[in-house]
């Protein structure tokens, strides 16, 4: 999955020069402009998504992993209504191994015991897609929704009940644009904000840091299949 984003970017880069290539110049032929087919009243568009999230719980993630961001990979299904409104169901996953740690004087100290955190968001968002007359291949959109966020934390040398396996709800806001690469393929990029209370802040480093939001701000790249 780590190669998905670079591959996607390469595809986008190759797509633009290809589009710019033209066959040898011919005399212009006036052909009748085919009518734009009307958008179907409803269409289903599967997608895969790669996300790089900057976590709101900066001190917590810095203590455990040494950095405050991390990748999510996943996919989902987007349902378009008359090409303007959409409902999107997505699932993704973050998994990283760091160390158990603690904060002292605001500084993180790791104790050398491996800790693995897994976040599995299930998100439902709805939104609106704008039309740009001059750029028909670009469709800006904004959306909002909610999600259910699973959080699993396991450590070595844990006794029963000491690991964490829980799920809480959160809210989602996003906005970006989709670029049509092909009649059936679109590439979307957006910024997504999530707020996920109820998991962090009740114990551990996050409680020390006074951080209770498992969400953050993410940059997402989506490859959408469908019209």
């Amino acid at each position: 999955m780590k190669t998905a984003i670079p591959a996607l970017l390469v595809a986008v880069a190759l797509a633009a020069p290809a589009a710019a290539q033209r066959p040898p110049q011919r005399p212009p032929v006036r052909a009748p402009v085919p009518p734009v087919p009307p958008a179907p009243p409803i269409s289903f568009r599967p997608f895969v998504v790669g996300t790089e999230e900057s976590f709101a719980a900066i001190d917590t993630f810095d203590a455990g992993f040494g950095h405050t961001y991390g990748p999510f990979f996943g996919g989902g299904l987007q349902v378009l209504f008359r090409d303007r409104f959409y409902l999107e169901l997505g699932a993704s996953r973050f998994k990283q191994t760091g160390q158990r740690a603690f904060l002292s004087g605001g500084r993180p100290f790791r104790v050398g015991i491996p800790l693995t955190a897994t976040i599995t968001p299930l998100e439902v968002t709805g939104g609106y897609r704008f039309r740009l007359r001059r750029l028909p291949r670009v469709r800006p959109y904004v959306g909002a929704g909610f999600g259910s966020y699973g959080y699993r934390e396991t450590s070595e040398f844990s006794d029963a009940g000491e690991n964490v396996d829980t799920r809480h709800s959160g809210t989602v806001l996003n906005g970006g644009a989709e670029f049509r690469l092909h009649r059936w393929v679109g590439l979307g990029a957006d910024v997504q904000y999530t707020h996920v209370p109820g998991i962090l802040g009740l114990g551990g480093v996050s409680q020390q840091a006074g951080e209770n939001d498992l969400g953050g701000v993410a940059v997402r790249v989506k490859l959408v299949v469908g019209r």
Partner: protein
């Protein structure tokens, strides 16, 4: 087999012959103690010893205290604190020129002279007439602009109450969750050096040859002179493996100013055992961080240190604040990463706001800050005077060093709990208590409530407790698993856990204190309280640190 036995016999004969020749060469006035290192037979391990009987108010304990007081020739200050006569500890301001310093000393004492600065000291010793009041001289020096602080050389003492050894489980180690801590870190601190600032340590075999003079106990009992004697001394077999003493680092004796800090008391060896008793060898008792390197730093004088020194040299025998301060600096400069101080003294409660008063120890506070600055984490016993009335400070007086500990991140004061996780009856309480650990108590538990480690069989070392007719030379080569109680026993538990934390890469002393306090098991009133501090240290919780969410 015959040849195998003949070897130690021949060695013993040769050593004895050498000693006879050596001792015959001594004159009557030559009281110097000779220590022949690495010369001696292996120790005798008696295992559990149950035939000793000492309680806090037992005749043996009282007689030991009386003898020490009679031998030390200390003076009692205006507040009742005991100090070494003939000296004042002075820290001059850096900008004060030598002529000004001398003028300040002369203004405070007609006989005052600045002595050659001792090693591992950032302070000076001003020698005065032993008949002079050192507290008065210190007070006058403190008035001078050239002086940062001045204090009498207050005597510190070990904070323990020896008691009956028993055949029972070491309840103290499971209480702090050591089994699971060892699962996490089987190497148990192998890369860390722990300095034990105490009465010394039984860390090597030796033969010692003092000349024992007649002495008088405090109640007037006269003990006969034994003359030159040959005393066997052995390393504690559960402290130093039979393969040698490679775990021993930079030993030093500030009491007698020599490089052989042999323990003639048993306290330092017991404390060292709690920190690093050899473990998983199928014999004896276990220790917390059983693979650490140990640095014996002797700053406490025992009865035998004084008797071995002879009365002509007894004023040179240390055991006061300046020795503790030098010991701290020495340990920090020679690679110790954890320092245990199972010692203390009583004093006023307001040394924090007014350190320049009698019975405070600014010289030790400065040394503690120096050691922490060098990366050392330090544990200090919280005090054993909860039930004691110490004039003029009253019942449950402030333990001066523990109070200092509470003001320095990276230095922690440790109270004691009994086998039931209750407040141990002797453990001092106050706003300065930061953590608790097993210190043991016989109340409610009898002999099963003691903290047991390997140390000398005091039946064979404390012969000064016998009647004069039975008095004989001690031997320091017979060991057993002896029960002690006190905050002296509590502090080394925390030191051992701290060493294991250092081994896991947490090297910041303040962070170690922080983690130990955050992961302690809360006892007593919710949150920090004056009896248990932040609670009972939990080795497993500390070594695991915290998760992100839990």
């Amino acid at each position: 087999m015959r040849g195998f036995r003949a070897l130690p016999v021949c060695a013993t004969v040769l050593v004895a012959a050498g000693l006879v020749l050596t001792l015959r060469g001594q004159t009557a006035g030559d009281w110097r103690l000779q220590i022949l290192e690495h010369v001696g037979l292996p120790a005798i391990d008696e295992g559990m010893i149950a035939d000793e009987s000492h309680t806090p108010s037992s005749p043996e304990t009282l007689r030991r205290a009386a003898l020490l007081e009679a031998l030390l020739q200390d003076r009692a200050g205006a507040s009742g604190g005991h100090y070494r006569p003939g000296r004042v500890i002075v820290k001059f301001r850096d900008e004060a020129a030598m002529p000004d310093r001398r003028a300040a000393v002369r203004a405070a004492s007609d006989t005052g002279e600045i002595a050659v600065r001792p090693s591992y000291a950032d302070f000076d010793i001003v020698r005065i007439d032993p008949a002079e009041d050192a507290e008065e001289a210190a007070s006058m020096l403190r008035q001078r602009p050239e002086v940062q602080y001045a204090q009498a050389a207050y005597r510190v003492h070990a904070l323990f109450v020896p008691n009956d050894p028993v055949y029972a489980q070491q309840w103290n180690l499971p209480m702090i969750n050591m089994e699971k801590a060892w699962d996490i870190q089987p190497q148990a601190g192998s890369a860390i050096t722990v300095a034990v600032i105490d009465t010394g340590m039984a860390y090597e075999n030796a033969t010692i040859t003092p000349t024992l003079q007649s002495f008088r106990s405090r109640n007037g009992t006269v003990y006969p002179a034994l003359g030159p004697v040959v005393i066997p001394y052995s390393a504690a077999p559960q402290l130093v493996s039979a393969t040698g003493s490679s775990r021993i680092v930079a030993p030093y004796d500030f009491v007698n100013e020599r490089a052989t800090p042999l323990d003639f008391d048993g306290h330092g060896t017991h404390v060292s055992g709690t920190i690093g008793q050899l473990t998983n060898d199928g014999i004896g008792t276990a220790g917390v961080a059983f693979n650490v390197k140990l640095m014996p730093v002797k700053v406490l004088a025992s009865e035998w240190d004084l008797l071995f020194a002879g009365f002509t040299n007894i004023s040179n025998v240390g055991g006061s604040d300046d020795d503790v301060a030098r010991g701290l600096r020495y340990a920090a400069d020679n690679g110790a990463k954890v320092i245990n101080m199972s010692l203390g003294s009583s004093g006023p409660a307001n040394c924090a706001t007014n350190p320049n008063q009698n019975d405070c120890s600014p010289v030790i506070e400065a040394a503690l800050r120096y050691a922490v600055g060098k990366g050392c984490f330090i544990t200090i016993a919280g005090g054993n005077e909860f039930e004691d009335n110490v004039p003029p400070f009253g019942v449950n007086p402030t333990s001066v060093l523990a109070e200092i500990a509470s003001r320095i991140p990276g230095v922690v004061s440790v109270a004691a709990v009994d086998r039931g996780k209750n407040h141990a009856y002797y453990s001092s309480t106050g706003s300065y208590i930061e953590l608790s650990a097993p210190g043991g108590s016989e109340r409610g538990f009898g002999s099963a409530g003691f903290v047991r480690q390997q140390t000398f069989d005091s039946n064979l070392t404390d012969t000064f407790l016998l009647s004069p007719s039975e008095f004989h030379a001690p031997r320091f080569d017979v060991f057993g698993n002896i029960g002690y109680i006190g905050t002296s026993m509590a502090a080394p538990h925390v030191a051992g856990v701290a060493a294991m934390l250092m081994q896991q890469g947490v090297t910041d002393p303040a962070a170690i204190e922080d983690l130990l306090e955050k992961t302690a098991i809360d006892l007593g009133a919710a949150g920090r309280d004056d009896t248990f501090g932040f609670g009972l240290v939990d080795a497993r919780n500390a070594l695991r640190g915290l998760g992100l969410a839990k």
